[in-house]
Symmetry: C2
Subunit: 236 residues, 2 copies
């Protein structure tokens, strides 16, 4: 497997992503974006990019905060995430910049692109889905938006994987998301709710120390990754 | 594959189930029950039993109404289903009788039993789960009950596969089911909601003619069967 850093830009912001792919394969392959959690770009999304490369995709972990900035505590998370979530156009533009960087790579079949995201990154892929990107998979992502999907804009292929006890995606927000999809006439969306599961269930580093309600769950981690894998086998 | 009818009883009711298994396999295998829809025992559940046998299970399609009675119209469905749903103890007893008939078969490893059900049959497997049977999978099943699960009774392994627009399992009933599982302290439950999907999505005969809101959906059918398959591979 080959990995490398790739610099790209959105507006005036320097972004540094991370590419992972199987360099022994010659044919262009589907490309999959990986969007990081509220803590920022780090080991976790790079590991997920390598896991996607092992599945045969060209994987690109995007940098959404710029210069791979990381939050050191929940206050900084709230500031970085809140800044982008309050400006959906800026957020979407930054997501699109990652999509363009991935699509431009010679290893990538640009007609077959997908995106996954975790926590804050889940909200990023849903914002992209709201303007027509697909397929996308959100892992314990935030489901609300300031710019709900317009009728006809959402294409096929939205998969939401959420913890039933995630305080960042409580039942009323899950219901609101489902109603948003209905109202937009989205043809193909799914929501999987894992019982007895909190926020951050895919990340082994989520041990409740920074946020009590963020807890790794090996079962939900395995099941959600398998759900994504099956979904992409079907869609890509 | 070998198939045969098997007679069994619950109280004074004659029940005639349908067994399907790979007769070339010598070792005892996990057994899986199949519970029929509100229309009653018929081709559909027998076909599903054979599909389970192809996956390597000993499959037993249960007869819940007795003498393989079938409903000819929605009024008869309501009567047959309502009769059992209003008496959960009777319904559960009839489900347990099928479980016992399956467990007694020499081909079956009685320590590894599971149950799936469709529509009314989905409510049957959830009633069994409420008293400790697991794993179970409900396909477009009714989620309400007159006897909610008591704390500690639900074991691991409840998978609910439901159409997001199924009028027999509307969002408020999905939410109520999730709350029932939370209140009971159920450790391992999942709900998958298929967007843009009505009732009866697994049955090609559901064409809206008998009930406008029962409609086959090839995509949800395939996805839900794959979800069950993966779940049983994990659990059995």
């Amino acid at each position: 497997m080959q990995t490398q850093d790739i610099d790209y830009r959105a507006d005036a912001v320097n972004l540094r992503g991370y590419l992972a792919f199987d360099e022994t394969s010659a044919a262009p392959r589907p490309g999959v974006l990986v969007f990081h959690e509220g803590l920022g770009f780090g080991d976790f999304v790079m590991a997920r990019a390598r896991m996607l490369a092992e599945l045969g995709y060209v994987a690109f972990a995007a940098d959404m905060f710029g210069d791979r900035r990381n939050a050191r505590n929940l206050t900084e998370v709230a500031k970085l995430v809140g800044h982008l979530r309050s400006q959906p156009e800026t957020l979407r533009g930054r997501g699109r910049a990652a999509l363009a960087a991935l699509a431009a790579l010679p290893q990538v079949d640009a007609s077959r692109l997908a995106a996954i995201g975790f926590c804050f990154g889940g909200s990023v892929v849903l914002e992209l889905a709201r303007e027509g990107a697909d397929p996308v998979v959100s892992f314990h992502g935030m489901l609300t938006t300031k710019m709900p999907a317009q009728p006809g804009r959402v294409k096929a292929g939205v998969l939401v994987l959420t913890g039933a006890d995630d305080p960042l995606a409580p039942p009323d927000q899950v219901a609101a998301f489902e109603n948003e999809m209905r109202a937009a006439g989205a043809r193909d969306w799914q929501v999987v709710s894992y019982g007895n599961t909190l926020h951050g269930f895919t990340n082994p580093a989520a041990d409740g120390s920074m946020m009590r309600t963020a807890q790794y769950d090996a079962e939900a981690d395995r099941r959600s990754w398998a759900a994504m894998r099956d979904f992409f086998e079907e869609m890509l």
